[in-house]
Amino acid sequence: MVQINFSLREVNCKIVYYGPGLSGKTTNLEIIHAKAPKGSTGDLTSIATEGDRTLFFDFLPLDLGQVAGMKTRFQIYTVPGQVYYNSTRKLVLQGSDGIVFVADSKRGKMPENLESLENLLENLKEYGLDLNQVSLVLQYNKRDLPDVYTIDEMNAALNKWGVPHCEAVARDGHGVFPTLKKLAGMVLESLNRQHTGAPAAATPVKAREQKVPVQVGAVGAAGAQAASPRATQTIRVGAGAQGARPQAGRGVAASAAPAISVKPMPINSARGTHAAAMGGPVPQPQRARKGRGILVGLILLAVAGAGAYLWFSGLLKDLL
């Protein structure tokens, strides 16, 4: 969590880059380290394996400069993306103020993205946090690859909350700064809101109530097989590329893909469950049901009344 130190006149925030293995988290940090104004970053520290895979974390201190007389710093971390390292990933996530979720746009990688996102939510929950307390920005990385999901497909699968997303080619530096800028702004805005009593600039993230769960286009069959074993629902979408739009200026060509199946996260599986999990409003249909009951009762009463009237008038006629 943010540390405000009036003795040093410093504000320190923690940002974590999360996402599946090889999605480009460390590359983001390397680009920030290389391209940030001189003197604004410290050393990039990596605790990595011999093969340059992140073992514990990468760490980069970033000095934004003076904000209202306070030296504002971001401590930026990455987590190891490989499933095996969940315990260390959870440790790095502790106390984070903002998270960039780096998703791999390459077709067939959606199950890994979904599994990692689910893991993020689980780990946050273990710290008693949800997305109302921690800022989140999604980065759709590797947009330069020839066979990628469309942005609509990425959003449908990963962005249930309508949080900001950025397209990126981290390897070339595209989209790296806009992502960080967006998240840094959200973290500082949240800090401002908490400490100066300023009104919220935007509504906190609330889970969107979805009648029809995720629509995911064109995930490779192999990827679908590798989907999380905790998944509970299968959605089939035909000709996922029909709605695809080529990414102008990025050289991305969307290709036709066969009908596929994908297993989304269980949080999407039941209406209302997701909202409850995210601290959002849970739909309450009781009132509507009660109203319908009263209406039906009145109609029955009217019918019974009419019947009684007819019977009584018929009886009177017979008597007279």
């Binding site: 969590m1 943010v2 540390q3 405000i4 130190n5 009036f6 003795s7 040093l8 504000v11 320190n12 923690k14 940030a36 104004p37 604004s40 410290g42 050393d43 520290t45 605790i47 514990f56 760490f59 201190p61 934004l64 400069g65 003076q66 904000v67 209202a68 007389g69 306070m70 504002t72 710093r73 401590q75 971390y77 315990s87 260390t88 440790l91 790095v92 502790q94 106390g95 008693g128 307390q133 530096g173 595209h174 989209g175 700064f177 806009p178 960080l180 800028k181 840094a184 702004g185 500082l188 805005e189 949240s190 800090l191 401002n192 908490q194 400490h195 100066t196 009593g197 906190p204 601290g279």
Partner: protein, 170 residues
């Protein structure tokens, strides 16, 4: 019921000048008594709170992050062994060594020392310093929150300007 805002405010560490003065007094006493080189107080998220002694060209931000990471990993190890946490960690080098002492629930004290003193002396006085610091933190946490933490009203506007300046559009 604790709201999100209250939760965040409780989770956030705010140090005012008077708090840091009290902490510095304890750290300076500990520095003299233990004859250590420097003492760095770090929160569990890896942010430095304050320091005492000669830090030379040590990259304090990286050290703080690594200390927090190292402590977090060790605590997980402790948990696997059925312990709540290990309250003291010690890393020995050829010249310099470092001892990490848990202070209260939220901070760690990193003590760098060399052959001028001994691990026994450092450990003895670290316990005393840790207790004094824990009391200060208890005071900090038990005091009612100030209506305005001291961040300027123009913080949001200033932050936006700083971000625009720093992150020049591609």
């Amino acid at each position: 019921m604790v709201t999100d805002s209250e939760h965040l405010r409780e989770a956030r560490l705010v140090f005012y000048q008077e708090d840091v003065d009290r902490i510095n007094a304890v750290l300076n006493d500990f520095l003299k008594l233990s004859d250590s080189k420097c003492n760095i107080l770090i929160d569990k998220e890896g942010h430095m709170v304050t320091k005492a002694g000669t830090t030379g060209d040590i990259n304090l931000q990286s050290v703080a992050a690594l200390v927090a990471g190292s402590y977090a990993a060790t605590r997980e190890m402790a948990r696997l062994l059925g312990e709540e946490e290990f309250s003291v960690l010690f890393h020995q080098g050829k010249k310099d060594s470092i001892q990490l002492t848990l202070v209260g629930d939220r901070t760690l004290l990193a003590t760098v020392f060399d052959e001028r003193t001994t691990i026994g002396m450092v450990r003895l006085y670290a316990k005393e310093a840790s207790d004094k610091l824990a009391k200060i933190f208890k005071d900090i946490l038990s005091r009612p929150p100030r209506p305005n933490s001291g961040l300027g009203d123009d913080f949001s506007k200033s932050a936006k300007g700083a971000l625009d300046f720093f992150f020049v559009d591609e």
